[in-house]
């Protein structure tokens, strides 16, 4: 027979913890004799026992016979995998439980987290890239010297138009992963975590480009209809792998070239710095997409065909739109020229031609990394939106 002395502790002051602890070591049907000096113990004990499915015998000495409610509550409970590895398919019944937690049955299934297959969601690079992203968050207030540069008005206007274009692209890059975040089963914690940092990165990019645009008091530039049409097709892509491919491999991949271009040709240090900081983040977004899509096409032989089909669909949808607006293209030329001298404009023009060749080479290189042939990569790169993202 077990005994438990509660001392002067009452059931209304936490004595039930001691009772629970003692009873948890007994099998249903086994008894524990309870002693204690709290004045209310005599009637609180039976109340507590009744509410917890135990039997109370008034004694003396007062005795509790362990019921089976506590053990039955966990009947059928299973572990949500193990902390250190991911399963092939995470069931909805695990809900929001931590990976590796003991999941009591009967809770609500996780609704909406339909991206629950390892082949589709998981990437071996996710834990490392998540850690890198968490360590690499920078503070726009301190990472950049926001002293207004004092450029000639027309050069400043070219910078502002470029920023206006970048902001809406960053907004699309924020919206796309944010839309998928809640659909990814939380079992794949590092993937969810990485995408959360990606969303935060894009929010920062929107902020710093907005701040640079307004730094010298100029009104923002034009948001072209064709550019927005192109971005809308990204936001509308319903399939995770396709969205990741179009946004991160092709779009953000192209942006790596654009951000390099801005660093090299920026007429002022603030523009160069915001481009540099954004580029570090973008390189991580591209790496993640290449990592997880590389694994995806290895596991799913039809994966490459589906990615290509998504690219073709987007191209067809955009065929009647204008692509990159002339205002954006010309502002890049002026920005790189740094002046209206004909020779400088000629150099700026050449630099933008180089930029487009650099983007194309980058896209082809990444497509080859995903297992497309050189010929396929060349055809596919040409189908990518003229709006860059």
């Amino acid at each position: 027979m077990s005994t438990i002395d509660l001392g002067s502790l009452g059931v209304d002051c936490g004595a039930h913890l001691l009772l629970d602890r003692t009873l948890s070591r007994l099998a249903p049907g086994q008894k524990v004799e309870v002693s204690g000096t709290d004045v209310n113990l005599g009637f609180h004990l039976p109340v507590w026992a009744r509410s917890r499915g135990h039997r109370f015998v008034s004694g003396p000495p007062p005795t509790i016979v362990r019921g089976d409610v506590d053990s039955n509550r966990l009947s059928g409970a299973i572990r949500a995998g193990v902390t250190s590895d991911v399963v092939d398919q995470a069931p909805a019944s695990w809900g929001l439980a931590a990976r590796g937690a003991l999941v009591e049955t009967g809770g609500p299934p996780l609704v909406g987290a339909d991206l629950n297959e390892r082949d589709v969601v998981w990437s071996e690079v996710a834990p490392r890239l998540y850690a890198q992203a968490a360590a690499g968050q920078w503070d726009p207030a301190t990472a950049i010297d926001w002293t207004p540069p004092g450029l000639p008005a027309e050069i400043e206007a070219a910078v502002v138009q470029t920023m206006t274009y970048l902001i809406e692209n960053e907004q699309a890059a924020l919206t796309v992963p944010a839309r998928f975040l809640g659909r990814i089963h939380p079992h794949f914690r590092e993937v969810v975590g990485f995408l959360a940092t990606q969303v935060a990165d894009e929010a920062r990019h929107v902020e710093v480009f907005t701040r640079r645009a307004g730094l010298c008091g100029h009104l923002l530039g034009v948001s072209g209809a064709g550019g927005r049409a192109s971005l809308q097709t990204l936001v509308d892509e319903p399939e995770w792998s396709n969205a990741s491919f179009l946004l991160s491999v092709l779009g953000e991949g192209s942006f790596l070239s654009l951000l390099s271009f801005l660093q090299r040709h920026a007429p002022d240090p603030v523009t160069a710095r915001v481009a540099q900081l954004a580029q570090v983040d973008e390189a991580r977004h591209v790496s993640f997409a290449l990592g997880h899509l590389g694994e995806f096409v290895t596991h799913r032989p039809v994966g490459r065909d589906r990615l290509r089909a998504a690219l073709e669909r987007r191209h067809d949808a955009l065929v009647s739109t204008s692509g990159l607006s002339a205002a954006v293209h010309d502002s890049l030329v002026v920005l790189a020229a740094g002046s209206w001298d004909p020779a400088a404009i000629g150099i700026g023009w050449e630099a933008v031609q180089d930029l487009q060749r650099d983007m194309d080479e980058g896209r082809r290189r990444r497509l080859v990394r995903l297992g497309f042939t050189e010929t396929q990569a060349e055809e596919m790169s040409a189908l990518h939106t003229k709006n860059f993202m």
């Binding site: 209304d12 004045v39 039976p46 507590w48 059928g76």
Partner: protein
């Protein structure tokens, strides 16, 4: 009434819909065609039961007492494990000079609603003819104390020093401590009622295959079953047990002393307008 079990229950809280929707689905999946009807008070539920508009009524102990008086064939077919062997207590502040019930003479005793078995009728019966002044906290009249608002208000009044003693069911003494209304150590129990039983599932006379199936299914509900557990948790039991009628004597006596119902089951209490 064909094979459908029509169950009556009182809607003392919005969760009652969730509870009986859940039981209905659970029972129907197992071949028992149950539907339920909700009442705003127990008196009409009991009247419909004896008029045989219901197959079973999920009755408060007071509703059981009335049903039995209106129709002696009433039987308690089921109850919750948590309906058995309850008590009520009479509580004073710890610094009160009152040490037992007799010393409440001439003092103010707070109770729950007029029709609360556990916070009014049974504890007042304990005080017999003692000359006390009763201050009733009438919340949820007609709900037979299922709504514990009155009990809670009495406990608050006790803590505030407005009354000398308060009556409540034993479990609520713990609950009000947890809610911070009667912090541990702030009160002293001066009396406890005899053991009594609480709710039961009441049916009239005889049995039927449908009623037997209904009873057997509920008795078989297993806390280890994840489809049953949320319903059991919500209704506050760990298993259904067969009904027994041996635990209603304290309330029968209290009803007689208070003149709440007459021997035929007619409502005779003054000021009771459910």
């Amino acid at each position: 009434m064909s094979d459908t079990i029509v169950l009556g229950a009182v809607a003392y809280d919005p969760k009652v819909v969730t509870i009986w929707d859940g039981f209905r689905a659970w029972l129907r999946q197992r071949g028992c065609d149950m539907d339920y009807v909700l009442y705003s008070n127990y008196e009409r539920q009991v009247e419909d039961l004896v008029a045989r508009r219901l197959s079973v009524a999920w009755n408060s102990p007071l509703a059981w007492v009335r049903a039995r008086r209106l129709d002696p064939s009433a039987q308690a077919v089921l109850m919750r494990d948590t309906d058995r062997d309850l008590t009520s207590v009479v509580v004073v502040r710890s610094d009160s000079p009152v040490n037992d019930v007799a010393e409440l003479a001439g003092r103010v005793v707070g109770t729950g609603a007029i029709d609360s078995p556990q916070a009014t009728l049974i504890p007042l019966d304990l005080m017999g003819e003692l000359p006390i002044s009763v201050r009733r906290f009438d919340v949820g009249i007609g709900l037979h104390g299922d709504h514990i608002g009155g009990e809670r208000d009495a406990a608050r009044a006790l803590a505030a020093g407005e009354i000398d003693a308060a009556c409540m069911i034993d479990a609520n003494h713990l609950r009000f401590a947890a809610e911070g209304i009667l912090p541990a150590g702030s009160t002293r129990v001066i009396a406890q009622t005899p053991l009594y039983d609480h709710c039961n599932m009441t049916a009239l006379g005889g049995s039927s295959p449908a009623l037997e199936q209904f009873t057997a299914l509920l008795l078989g509900m297993d806390y280890a079953d994840a489809t049953a557990r949320p319903l059991l948790d919500l209704e506050g039991l760990t298993r259904w047990v067969p009904g027994r009628t041996s635990g209603y004597e304290p309330l029968e006596s209290a009803v007689d002393r208070a003149g709440f119902y007459d021997r035929k089951g007619e409502v005779t209490a003054d000021e009771y307008r459910p």
